[in-house]
Every structure is written in C-alpha cells, then in structure tokens.
Amino acid sequence: MNHYGVKAIYFYELARAWRTLMQSIASPVLSTSLYFIVFGSAIGSRIVEIDGISYGAFIVPGLLMLSILTESTSNASFGIYMPKFTGTIYEVLSAPVSGVEIVLGYVGAAATKSVILGLIILITARVFVDYSIMHPIWMLMFLVLTAITFSLLGFLIGLWANSFEQLQIIPMMVITPLTFLGGTFYSINMLPELWQKITLLNPVVYLVSGFRWSFYGSADVHVGISLGMIALFMAICLGLITWIFKTGYKLKP
C-alpha cells in the first residue's frame, strides 16, 4: 500500500475544499438554513406533527440527507473530473498508486468533506428547530456510509463525464428529484397507496427513512432494509469503479 500516495491525494483534495470554502461549506449551509427557515420555522409551524414529531424536526434528517447526497456526488465528481479536464491526471496515472488507492484518496476526501458539512448543518439546524437524536452512533454510521456511497457515485460520474454539462446532469436531473420525492419533506405513509409502492423503487427513500429512524426511532421502511440498500448501492458503485480501473475506460486510451 502506497500510504504516502493516498495521503497526498486525500490532503490535496481537502486543501481544495479549504481553498473553495465558500462553495464547499458556506453555500450548502446557507441553502439548507433557508430550507429550515421556510419549511421548518415559517410554514412548518402551521403543519401538524408527523408521527408525533414537529414538522420542523421531522425534516431535519431529510434535509441533511439532501445536502449529503448532492455534496458528496458533486465533490467527488468534481475532484476527479478536474484533473481529467486540465490534464493533470497524467501524474496520478503515472504514479505508483493502484486503483484502490486512488479511490481511497479521492473518495475518502469527498466523504470526509460531506461528513464535516453534515455535522455543521446539524449544528446550524439547532438554531432553527428543536430536534433530538435517539441513536447517535447509528446516525453517524448512516451519515458516513451515505457520504462514502454517494462519493463513490460522484467519482464514477467524474470518471464518466466528458463535459461540465455531463458532470451536472446526474446530480441535477436524478439525485435532487429522487431526494425531494424520497420522503425528505414528508412521510411516504402520507402518499396514496399506489404512490407508496412506486416510491419504494426510489433508493433515496431507504436512506432518508433509515436516517430518520436514527433520530426519532420511527421509519417508513425497516432499518435493516435501509442498511441493506446502502450496502447494495455501495457494492454496485465499487464494482463499476473496479471495472473502470481494470479496463482503463475513459482513463487510459
């Protein structure tokens, strides 16, 4: 294991986040705060409790998940796409680092940033709404696993993308809609029966549900299924990344 190499990529990526502090941390914190103000404090105060939880507190896990998913994906995709775009990828490809080590460096850094961001948002949320965390260890585990899984997805998107448009299209056209429709702002039990069944095809439902369980002990789907879905999604991403490094697809001509 080239641990110096992994460390170099990891800290290089964290330094990039530090250089772009406004985009990396301040911007998502601000936009999530706006959600809390509008949906949590302003509108939320006129909405009845869901499963015995005030609406403002109910949306905390979902909004946190929304930020984690979008930021993990965009951070990791940008992290690997930029070297491809500017040509600096030559150095990583010519270095004595294996595919696993490259992934550890880039995805590890993107996931770290997301977890830090998630914790900052969690603290910020406290300013606007009162919430509690019933299973803090599980909460942290869901946070870390989701950050890693979606950083892996972002890394895949960054490897695959040939343009900035392609880089944006999956986060914008797939992840954001799936998150909004995945129970961020509501319990899926509030939907008509048919839509409840259709919604179960949305993988984000399992993430939000499991995460919300770690806060309040109630979930739309069983927590075991949520964990299983994260594991499955992570396995798919890892499988695809392994294939890319093995074949050199879009990396080595």
Binding site: Y4, G5, G87, T88, E91, L93, S94, P96, P253
Partner: protein
C-alpha cells in the same frame, strides 16, 4: 553502460483501429541522454505514455531498471519521472504544495530539504509560495520539471521540454538537463529542434508513423541529417540556369529570382564559396544571401521517403 530501459515489441492500436506504434524495440543505456525525434503524430508521446503508464499498450513488454512495468508497477514507476508536453498543472496551487504533492504521490516520505534544494536548482525557490497561475510559461515548465524530479527518479522523460520556450530559457533548460545527467539520471527527451538533439543527445532515435526508423549515435546521424540550404537572391531574374551550373544540389526558383543550393554541414567543405565563384564567373550578380537549416520535420519526410 548497461541498459536501464528496454522496450520489446511494444505495440499500440487504439480502439478506433488506428495503429500508433508498431513493434517498437529499443534499449536506453544508463546515464545517457536519448533524443527521440519525429514529426507530429509520429507516436513519440504515445510511446512515452506507455512507458509511464498513461496509455495502455496492446502488445510488448517494458523493463525499467530490471522491473517489469506491469508486474512490478510500484517499484518501476518510482524509477520514472515525466515532464509532459502540455503545461498540465493545477494553477490554483502554490509551487511548494504541488512539489510536495508529487513527492507523496510517488510514495516518498516528505523531505523538505531535498525539495528546497530542487527548487533552488530550478530557480524557483523565491516563488515557492506563489500560486502557479502567477508564473510565466517558462516557470510553469520548470515547476513541471520539479514535480517530475520530486521523487528522485533514475529515468526522466521530457516530452518537448523546450516547446514554446524562449532562447535564453532553452539554454538554461539544456544546462539543467546536462546537470541531471551528471547526477546519474538517464534522460529521454522528444524534440522538434535539431540543434537541441545535436547539442545534447548521446544517441538519437527517429520515429515516424509509429515505427522506429533508426537508432544511432548522434554524430553518425548528424552526418545524415545535418543539411542546410543557401538561397541566393539574384539582381536580375534568370529564365534558365547556365549549363555549367546545372547540378542536383542547385535549383532555380520558379519565379527565377533566386537560386537554392542545398549542402551538408558534415562535409569537409560546404561548397558555398565555390558556388559563389562560379556565379561570378558566369556573370550572375546577386543582392543577398540567406542560409537556413532544414527543419527536422523536412528531414524526416525525406528520411521516410527514402526508407518506405
């Protein structure tokens, strides 16, 4: 000198079906400066890319410092440094951060004393905290060299190191390359500049259309390649050459206003003074003279035409 890098039957055919390299067999000797010459699209960068692990070969074997570059990729790649042709560097980073990153990436523990020395050698020390975007093109190229040397490789690839670099900096670069050689680094460079190869290389390889045409000691090759042309601008245009001036190495320009004489710099006599005397004897007056070294690309074209 023993061989430090050996390429055996290296081939590259892209997915599009384009064959970039055909059966490349080449041995680089330890401590030499080897210049790989070839026109654009000849396969130079592809060849370097394959050795450095950026491009996948479709056939053949490469041994670097007794290590197979696939089976022992970790150890083999530690021996190799690459300065790419493009100025590919993160412009938002500082010089110091980028060289430290390169050293770590290649699996070496931090050694700030070595990196300080390296930056001083490349006249970059006073710029160490500058963002790369603030540096001139020549300095950026030196940063790339510093990055390639950050892990103290034994073999250094320089892909067109002096492309777009002014004369003074080019000379500095040559001096630096010689210093590296004195320190025991084997250097493989690609170039378009014949004087660069002439000035620095111990051996020269000529590549064209993905085939290694020849590999020779520089002095032997220069005799073959070193041709110049002399243009004589006539005071009065000629319609034809006088019979005593008709020869293979002398052409009358289409407009009749100039004569073009080509000659080899390697010959004992260029024949220029004899030609001028002949013109005077024939009563042909001229107003100006211009000599020009044939470009490497022109030479290659003639080389390739001769050896299909």
């Amino acid at each position: 000198m023993p061989d430090i890098l050996t390429l055996e039957g290296v081939e590259k055919t892209y997915d599009t079906g384009f064959t970039a390299l055909t059966d490349i067999n080449l041995s680089i000797r330890q401590g030499e400066i080897f210049a790989l010459l070839g026109p654009n699209g000849a396969g130079k960068t592809t060849l370097i890319g394959i050795v450095c692990g950026i491009v996948k070969a479709t056939g053949g074997r490469i041994i670097a410092d007794s290590l197979d570059i696939h089976k022992d990729f970790r150890q083999a790649r530690k021996q190799i440094g690459l300065v790419p042709q493009e100025l590919s560097v993160n412009i938002f980073e500082s010089v110091w951060d980028t060289v430290r990153f390169s050293r770590g990436l290649f699996g070496c523990p931090a050694d700030d004393a070595y990196l300080e020395q390296l930056l001083k050698t490349l006249s970059l020390w006073d710029k160490k905290d500058s963002r790369i975007m603030a540096l001139s093109g020549g300095m950026k190229r030196r940063v790339l060299i510093a990055k390639a040397l950050a892990h103290q490789p034994n073999i250094l690839f320089l892909d067109e190191p002096t492309a777009g670099v002014d004369v003074e900096l080019r000379r500095d670069m040559w001096a630096m390359i010689r210093r590296l050689r004195e320190e025991g680094v084997t250097i493989i460079l690609t170039t378009h500049y014949i004087e660069e190869a002439e000035d620095m290389a111990d051996r020269i390889g000529v590549i064209n259309k993905g085939k290694l045409m020849l590999v020779e000691e520089k002095h032997a090759l220069m005799r073959e390649l070193g041709r110049k042309s002399l243009t004589v601008f006539l005071s009065e245009p000629l319609t034809t050459l006088p019979p005593n001036l008709i020869r293979d190495d002398l052409q009358l320009a289409e407009d009749g206003n100039s004569l073009i004489y080509s000659y080899s710099t390697a010959e004992a006599s260029s024949g220029v003074s004899e030609l001028l005397a002949q013109l005077q004897n024939a009563g042909i007056d001229y107003q100006d003279l211009q000599t020009r070294q044939s470009s490497l690309e022109e030479i290659f074209v003639s080389l390739v035409e001769e050896k299909p």
